[in-house]
């Protein structure tokens, strides 16, 4: 329990819970089952998008191709099901494989040519988006199978069905980084590449796996989203860039790598989804959502610096704190 409260996202979760209770008491609409479902549905999507970015931030890299991969996977699933008449299961599997391959391509180029992920994914992400628009001529596929619509918009009271894959993804990613050798290798390379090399960790393989995993997670997020809009549009992912960074950073992921708090991602997704919702419930201008996101990222960075300073000032406390915005080793 003590460890839970020492995490960077614990105060965020506590503040959100308190704000939620106050809002629930102040406005009768906030606490309704439908409104909580709305927040949780958005949380699930945001968490999936955030995890996709977090796994590459963990290795001290980044992916600007998350949205592009999502757009490509969306039209692949929509087209294979709606136009080629594939069974929906096969179309989804093909979409996930496509996402994985896109991530692999990113990882291969970055690892083998020792290029910056920023440059490579900027290029490939734009290319993926271009392919998605080119294939569809910007026309969405609207023949969406009921199973995806049920997943995207289905609920049991306040519980959005999308939470099931989102929670499963968070647990799997969290466990992978904690217990799998490749997960620990990614964190080691992200934390200190030279030290990892000296320890005999194959950093190229770690980079490849991190980007491949990012592509797969982006593909899962895309499949989850198709049913939410009930339309497979190539524009899916066009606005995912900011959210893909905001979620892991607010959740406590270090920009310099070596950290992958999947639970923090989930909490940050919940916070951002709640802000989105509250501002509409309270009839605040929707432009304020972006401002709130910016302030939250800034707060996360500042709290990271503060925690780092506290860690340095207390050498006897054991493991130094590592958090979002820590700019030094």
């Amino acid at each position: 329990m003590r460890r839970l409260f020492s995490t960077q996202w614990a105060p965020l979760l506590a503040a959100t819970a308190v704000a939620g209770i106050v809002l629930g008491l102040a406005t009768k609409q906030f606490g309704t089952a439908f409104n909580i479902y709305t927040i949780l549905q958005t949380t699930a999507i945001y968490a999936a998008i955030g995890l996709s970015q977090m796994v590459v931030l963990a290795i001290a890299d980044m992916s600007l191709a998350v949205g592009g991969i999502a757009g490509l996977v969306t039209i692949a699933v929509g087209g294979l099901y709606g136009v080629q008449h594939w069974p929906i299961g096969a179309a989804i599997v093909a979409g996930l494989v496509l996402g994985l391959v896109c991530g692999l391509v990113n990882g291969l180029i970055i690892a083998e040519m020792d290029l910056s992920g920023f440059i490579v994914t900027l290029a490939t992400g734009t290319a993926f988006t271009g392919i998605a628009y080119g294939v569809t001529s910007a026309i969405p596929y609207s023949n969406i199978p009921p199973v995806l619509v049920s997943l995207g918009q289905g609920r049991a009271s306040f519980f959005s069905y999308l939470l099931v894959p989102a929670i499963a993804m968070s647990i799997a990613v969290g466990a992978g980084f904690r217990w799998l050798p490749i997960g620990r290798a990614i964190l080691a390379v992200g934390g200190n590449r030279e030290a990892a090399l000296l320890a005999g960790i194959r950093h190229k393989r770690a980079m490849l796996v991190a980007h491949a995993l990012s592509g797969l997670l982006a593909a899962i997020a895309a499949v989850m989203y198709i049913g939410v809009l009930e339309s497979a549009t190539p524009a899916t992912g066009s606005e995912w860039l900011i959210i893909s960074f905001a979620v892991p950073i607010i959740g406590g992921t270090a920009l310099v790598g070596g950290d992958a708090p999947a639970a923090g991602c989930f909490v940050a997704a919940l916070v951002l989804a709640a802000i989105n919702d509250v501002l509409i419930v309270l009839n605040v201008n929707t432009e304020a959502v972006q401002m709130a996101e910016g302030l939250l990222i800034f707060a996360a960075v500042m709290s990271g610096k503060l925690a780092q300073s506290v860690g340095r000032a207390s050498p006897g406390r054991g493991r130094p704190l590592r958090s979002a915005g820590s700019l030094g080793p």
């Binding site: 001529s137 066009s238 606005e239 009839n283």
Partner: protein, 367 residues
């Protein structure tokens, strides 16, 4: 003596330079600010190449591709639909796309302007080369080198949409309004239209909430759900003037029967919207005429190049907020009764298209 000759030469050069600058300035003013008429010469069909250039890849413009094919076949000239590779509608990308087309010999353009001011330098360059431009589906501001603007009268459309909705609501109740970016010129006009429609009820209908900046696949669904969660019980009507909010609202209202008391009028005829309309989950949708926009623009540009026509300054234009040379491409309310007729079809209003084509002799002055 030598110095005197040099001095005279210098003065002459200065005068020539000043005259040239003055001449260029006058020419530029004439090109950019005075008459909209261009293309007084005639060209054979083989030399006419018309391009329909949307703002970027967007489902709204898709019927322009079909219109380009149909116009090319009907007129016997090249009519191409060329999409600038910019999902975010960047003016610079659109400008370089058009420049490339000019280099390939295209000599008439119908353009959706990405940025009503930033595209004008490109228009000036085209006009200086005698290339006519029609603003299509969006207008640049006067004074503009575009010969005219042909598009949906979005303010009138939104006002009509609101009037239909308030009538269906029995003339009283509360409305939620879903729309795009409030800094976008078209959104401003739509908001004005909705407010004007609401004002006609003398306070009996209240515009309870405007949810803006949600015309994207990721922003629309949660915003619509949040609005329904907070105001669903008190709203009696809801309208969307943009594509993604319309699709999201149609889908959500179809799946959540507890909000069926809300009469919703959407925008465009996306299959999700039409399916909701057919199942009576929504009240109606507003249809626009992008196919007709492409047909009419290609026809007018063809007449200008082939017959040497110019735009008639006394044409039956409508004065809009930013331009005085506007022609409405039409809008139509599609009710539940008409849903079948407009499902699975291209967005087109043939009656308006034919009416505008029939008025070509009033819009253009031909030798």
């Amino acid at each position: 003596m030598k110095r005197s000759i040099q001095s005279r030469r210098g003065r002459l050069a200065t005068r020539l330079f000043a005259t040239a600058v003055l001449g260029l300035g006058v020419a530029a003013m004439a090109a950019g600010m005075v008459a909209p008429a261009v293309a007084a010469t005639t060209l054979p069909k083989s030399k006419i190449k018309i391009a329909l250039v949307p703002g970027g890849p967007n489902v709204y413009f898709a019927p322009w591709a079909e219109a380009a094919k149909a116009a090319s076949k009907a007129l016997g000239v090249t009519v191409s639909y060329v999409v600038p590779p910019t999902p975010t509608f960047q003016p610079s990308v659109e400008m370089s796309t058009v420049d490339s087309l000019v280099a390939k010999g295209y000599n008439a353009f119908a353009i959706f302007p990405d940025g009503e001011a930033s595209i004008v330098p490109l228009y000036n360059r085209l006009k200086a080369r005698g290339i006519p431009i029609i603003d299509l589906a969006g207008c640049t501001s006067d004074p503009t080198p575009a010969v005219l603007c042909f598009g949906t009268n979005v303010e009138a459309s939104a006002k009509y949409q609101t009037e239909v909705l308030t009538r269906a609501m029995g003339g009283k109740g509360k409305i939620g309004f879903l729309t795009g970016l409030l800094t976008d010129a078209n959104t401003v006009l739509r908001e004005q239209g909705v407010k004007a429609g609401v004002a006609e009820t003398n306070g009996a209908v209240e515009l309870a909430q405007i949810v803006s900046n949600i015309d994207s696949p990721s922003a629309a669904p949660p915003a619509v759900e949040s609005l329904l969660a907070s105001k669903g019980s008190e709203l009696t009507g809801m309208l969307a003037t943009d594509y993604y909010p319309s699709v999201a609202a149609a889908s959500i209202l179809s799946k959540n029967a507890q909000f069926r008391h809300i009469l919703f009028i959407g925008q465009d005829n996306d299959p999700t919207v039409m399916s909701a309309l057919l199942s009576h989950a929504i009240y109606g949708t507003m249809l626009q005429n992008p196919y007709g926009q492409g047909i009419v623009a290609a026809h007018l540009l063809y007449k200008m190049l082939a017959d040497g026509c110019t735009v008639n300054p006394n044409a039956p234009f409508t004065k809009m907020g930013n331009t005085s040379r506007f022609i409405n491409s039409g809008y139509l309310f599609v009710s539940q009764d008409l849903a079948k007729q407009y499902s699975g079809t291209m967005a087109s209003i043939p009656a308006v298209t034919n009416q505008v084509l029939g008025e070509t002799d009033k819009i253009l002055s031909c030798p």
